[in-house]
């Protein structure tokens, strides 16, 4: 019994200090996929990733934003992290490197909507302003 205690004492303290201090996930850890709408070719009718997504966490929908004039081909690609199983197949599949994995781990949300990032294409010039926001979904 004492031998165990001795071993325990020898082991010392290993406990992480999270959340007080942040740990880093190892390089290349499949924390969460990030879509870069600027590179994505969904607008040009590419659907390589969608075809390869088992849980259909990536899916295309016809974009009908209120604006009358829709630039064809118009679509919007949604990435639902709530469904994603972090397999990484889409990363390799993407012809335009628009998808990456980042080593994040603070992914929990209180509202399922916050797990969805939608890139919607072909819209009127009036909404260009919204492009200023950062696009990897994290809040500044």
């Amino acid at each position: 019994m004492f031998s165990w205690i001795r071993k325990g004492l020898r082991t010392g303290i290993l406990t992480t200090r999270y959340p007080a201090a942040h740990d880093r996930m190892p390089e290349g850890f499949r924390g969460r996929p990030v879509i870069d709408p600027a590179r994505c070719l969904a607008g040009q009718g590419c659907s390589a990733c969608v075809a390869l997504c088992l849980p259909s966490a990536l899916y295309l929908t016809r974009a009908d934003n209120g604006t009358g004039e829709a630039h064809a081909p118009a679509a919007s690609l949604t990435l639902d992290i709530g469904r994603c199983v972090m397999c990484g197949l889409c990363i390799d599949a993407c012809p335009a490197d628009a998808l990456r994995m980042v080593e994040e781990y603070e992914l929990a949300v209180t509202n399922q909507e916050d797990l969805r990032v939608t890139a919607s294409y072909a819209i009127g010039p009036d909404q260009l302003a919204s492009r200023k926001e950062n696009h990897d979904g994290t809040s500044a």
Partner: protein, 527 residues
């Protein structure tokens, strides 16, 4: 190519002149008629030492207008699989139960009965096994035409009633929602105060229909499903599937990939075995020991994350090889951790077996006699602790195990202590294998592009997961999808044996120890 002269002439002796195909050097496929298979198996059982491995059915009515039973034995003497194929025509849709010859076949036949709708005649007790209680009658998921996607409306639940217990014996219900962080499964413990006299196990609360699901997705996604049959045996399962795929497509994996697969498979075994000890310590209340083993498990998991980007090695196996290569730094990290464990693990196991509070709880607890283990075909560490000298890595080598030098521990006692010892010993062997794999790791590609197998191709494949052997069988269909995907996980084989270890001289407080010492997975059994 091996000839199996001895076996073949034994078989011809048993069956007269039968067409014996040999699609692969280590697999003999025999077609028998539904009339003759029972007596011939009976005679074969007497003549030579064969192990029942799997029994499942395929719905081939659209092409052969018949059902097909696949009955797989292992003939360890010659490292060969005996694969019997029995046609069952649609009218009779029944076959003679094998449960009297091979008791283990009982559950497999029940699965066939409920999922394919073939009746095993004079089966000892036929009631629903895997499907949910509210699953409607006459809906057979394994038949063609069943679509996994579309939901089924619930029907009047079928509750199986155990026969009444003797007066004063309590049906102590345990689960499906049990204490601690465990999977969902139900036990009915029959106890008289302390004494534990009987048990009824219902591990099938988590049927997700992975087999059917796999038949609806494109081939390169199937490994993702295989991984999720049992998350802690993910690599073994995806490996088994990929090997089946490669066998069917008849292509060779580059050597580097084979060695890496061996390496990673052993890493998975390593963290499982460390976790096994931790859980066992938890069951016996040895918290410090639990902490120690959990520490090592966590370190292995973190190593996995650094090597593969995933703590449980998901998404690594792809048909034709691996999706990620092992970097130089990765090799370094493996080396450092393994050499640390080489020093630490023997010390830990010595200390564990020396601490009486732990050992006394394990000795003569939950005994599974070698005879029972043979009848119910216990696999993996459980079987090896009860005198089943059988390990696919050695008996049917795959990946790069043929080049590895390791020993397979074996004990006869069959109690919890024996199981713990086996797992400890296997852990140390695993370290040896990993070192060898690292040392011999060849350079080169990690994957070859592989075309989809031709339709109609079928292949059997296997891997020794941490919990024991898991078998996968695929049948290619048109449009580049699977027509039939069959998975037999280690846990499914062992759950039958588990309930044999309970009656006898165990008391209620032994139960958690016994449960942990079997280290079974509910998810794996469900599929």
């Amino acid at each position: 190519m091996k000839e199996h002269a001895g076996l073949k002439q034994q078989l011809t002796a048993a069956y007269g002149s039968l067409p014996i195909k040999q699609p692969h050097p280590d697999e003999l496929v025999l077609a028998i008629s539904s009339e003759s298979f029972w007596p011939t198996l009976n005679s074969l059982r007497e003549t030579c030492e064969i192990t029942f491995v799997d029994l499942f059915g395929v719905d081939l009515r659209s092409t052969h207008d018949a059902f097909q039973l696949h009955l797989i034995f292992s003939f360890d003497a010659e490292q060969t699989w005996l694969h019997f194929v029995i046609d069952i025509d649609e009218q009779t849709a029944a076959f003679l139960s094998l449960a009297s010859l091979f008791p283990a076949a009982g559950w497999y036949e029940r699965v066939i009965w409920e999922e394919l709708g073939l009746l095993p005649q004079n089966h000892p007790l036929l009631h629903r096994l895997r499907l949910a209680p509210d699953w409607p009658e006459q809906v057979y998921p394994a038949r063609e035409g069943f679509t996994w996607k579309e939901p089924i409306t619930a029907h009047e639940p079928i509750q199986f009633a155990l026969e009444a217990a003797p007066v004063g014996v309590v049906d102590y219900p345990l689960g499906p929602v049990r204490s601690g962080i465990v999977e969902s499964g139900h036990y009915t413990l029959r106890t008289v105060g302390e004494e534990l006299i009987d048990i009824s196990v219902q591990p099938f609360y988590k049927q997700r229909g992975i087999e059917q699901r796999a038949e609806e997705v494109s081939l390169e996604l199937v490994p993702l499903l295989a991984e999720r049959i049992s998350g802690t045996s993910a690599f073994a399962h995806s490996l088994a599937f990929c090997q089946a795929y490669e066998r069917a497509a008849e292509l060779d994996v580059p050597p580097r990939a084979r060695f890496l697969r061996t390496l990673l498979a052993e890493l998975e075994r390593l963290y499982n075995h460390l976790g096994f000890q931790a859980d066992l310590c938890q069951a016996t209340g040895l918290s410090v020991g639990q902490a120690q083993f959990d520490l090592w498990k966590e370190q292995v998991l973190r190593l996995n994350a650094r090597l593969s980007g995933h703590r449980y090695l998901f998404g690594l196996n792809i048909p034709g090889g691996l999706s990620r290569d092992l970097t130089e730094s990765g090799q370094e990290e493996i080396h450092t951790l393994i050499s640390a464990l080489r020093k630490e693990l023997p010390a830990l196991s010595r200390q564990l077996l020396a601490s009486s509070s732990h050992r006394d709880r394990l000795e003569r607890t939950g005994v599974l006699s070698p005879q029972q283990a043979r009848e119910y075909c216990a696999v993996g560490p459980v079987g090896r602790a009860s005198g089943r000298d059988r390990d696919l890595r050695r008996d049917h080598p795959y990946a790069a195990y043929a080049q590895m030098d390791f020993t397979v521990p074996l004990l006869q006692e069959g109690d919890a202590l024996a199981r713990a010892k086996i797992v400890l010993e296997e852990g140390e062997q695993t370290l040896r294998i990993i070192e060898q794999a690292l040392a011999q790791l060849p350079a080169g590609a990690i994957a070859t592009p592989c075309p989809a197998p031709t339709p109609g191709e079928s292949a059997l494949s296997w891997a020794e997961s941490a919990r024991g052997e898991c078998l996968h069988w695929i049948l290619m269909g048109e449009n580049g999808k699977l027509r039939r995907y069959r998975v037999r996980s280690a846990s499914f084989a062992n759950w039958q044996a588990f309930s044999l270890a309970i009656p006898g001289h165990n008391i209620l407080t032994d139960f958690p120890v016994i449960e942990q010492s079997f280290g079974l997975s509910f998810a794996g059994a469900n599929g």
